[in-house]
Symmetry: C2
Subunit: 247 residues, 2 copies
């Protein structure tokens, strides 16, 4: 079993040590070996090292500090544009203007991203996913010169780790894995599987600091509030419509 | 660098050797260490070993033979239901009925799936993604007893390899990776980056067998025809609407 996968931590702070072109290429090449739908490779990766480009990207990621401090930012995009062009010069209609093609491309892009992350971590690098990509996919696409049909899905910051963070809690495996059929949760069972999370000292401090009654309130009222999710849902859906993936 | 990632192949044919419960659990536990949005873990995994359940799943995957022949089928689902229940018993509205929550869950589910695949392959197991999951997500959810808010995203078949297939061609890395900004493709450039694919003997045989002029026609007219993609897009979008993720 891959030891680096078991002990991995998200890394948000990096040393000055640069990442060589040859290592980056080798990691990307390795990641491309992962499965993808029909071998269409409906994805592209934009490499950001340039300071000016980082400055433009930073606000789209809500100025999370690692955008400026990481030596490399990678934006993994669903790319239907390249496939469309290939079909076009071969004299055939691509038929990609629908939600299924977008979804396949988004899944393949995520598979590529995660394969890259595993390979990078195994080489001693640290990564952090920036969940803000979906919030501002359109603005990011513009900064990176992406044409219609190329949609940012995952962004990671990448560098050699300057610090090790604590291993994060996870739900017990039996809350995630179901044998043969999904076993629905009673209230008692939900309390059981979330017990460690709810009673974790760091989480409890977080609840007090935010003057809430419990961790679920912190999540639903502050971190992932309904009105914010709805705002960014509308934005992202608008992009998918503009690009022709939803009618 | 992880050697198993570089040399991996999709495996569709498996030996009789069973996969132990302990190995499966260890692999799933390892996969759960991967990044996920806000540590909400918006995913679940359904393990299918039972012959009767496989028989029910087989037609939803267009009777691809590995559904019956693999010792284990894993269905990785976006799961907003468990999080909703946790919010509910904590007296707060979850605010998850929107496209952003679905998308985050689908991405996290795919990250989990791919982490699992890498760990499994490193242990000598073979996997195959079944892209049919999105086509029949609703029917699969019913067979697996998934409540509203639990949506199948990725399915893999899993087992010890009975055969090794050829390593698949990939586009040259410089067709996928862009430095600082997306470099759009001229027609000449498209022809260049698809040259090896277009001229590959196996692909050419495929073109002749299907009586088409080129590989792009095989993809657009047979393998991923527009009318099929549109049919399955509508089906999948309908499920997302029924479950409240698109208004």
């Amino acid at each position: 079993m891959i030891r680096s996968m078991k002990n991995r931590r998200t890394v948000r702070s990096y040393t000055e040590k640069p990442i060589s072109e040859s290592l980056l290429s080798e990691l990307l090449e390795t990641a491309c070996r992962a499965s993808n739908t029909g071998n269409m490779q409906l994805y592209s990766v934009i490499v950001t090292r340039d300071e000016e480009q980082k400055k433009k990207l930073a606000p789209t990621h809500f100025n999370q500090p690692q955008v400026m401090s990481a030596p490399v930012i990678l934006t993994f995009c669903a790319d239907i544009h390249r496939y469309d062009k290939w079909c076009q010069i071969n004299g055939t209609e691509s038929g990609t203007d629908n939600f299924l093609f977008y979804t396949n491309a988004a899944i393949d892009t995520t598979i590529l991203t995660q394969s890259f992350c595993t390979a990078a971590e195994d080489e001693g690098l640290g990564i952090c996913y920036l969940g803000t990509t979906l919030y501002n996919a359109k603005e990011i696409a513009e900064i990176l010169n992406c044409p219609k049909g190329v949609i940012p899905i995952c962004t990671i910051s990448l560098g050699y780790p300057a610090e090790t963070s604590d291993k994060q809690l996870r739900l017990p495996l039996n809350a995630i894995v179901h044998d043969e059929r999904y076993q629905d949760f009673s209230n008692v069972r939900i309390k059981e599987v979330y017990k460690e999370t709810d009673e974790d000292p760091t989480n409890k401090k977080f609840v007090r600091a935010n003057k809430r009654r419990n961790l679920a309130e912190v999540f639903t009222q502050i971190r992932y509030a309904k009105k914010d999710s709805e705002f960014f849902s509308d934005k992202f859906l608008r992009l998918l419509k503009e690009d022709g993936f939803i009618k």
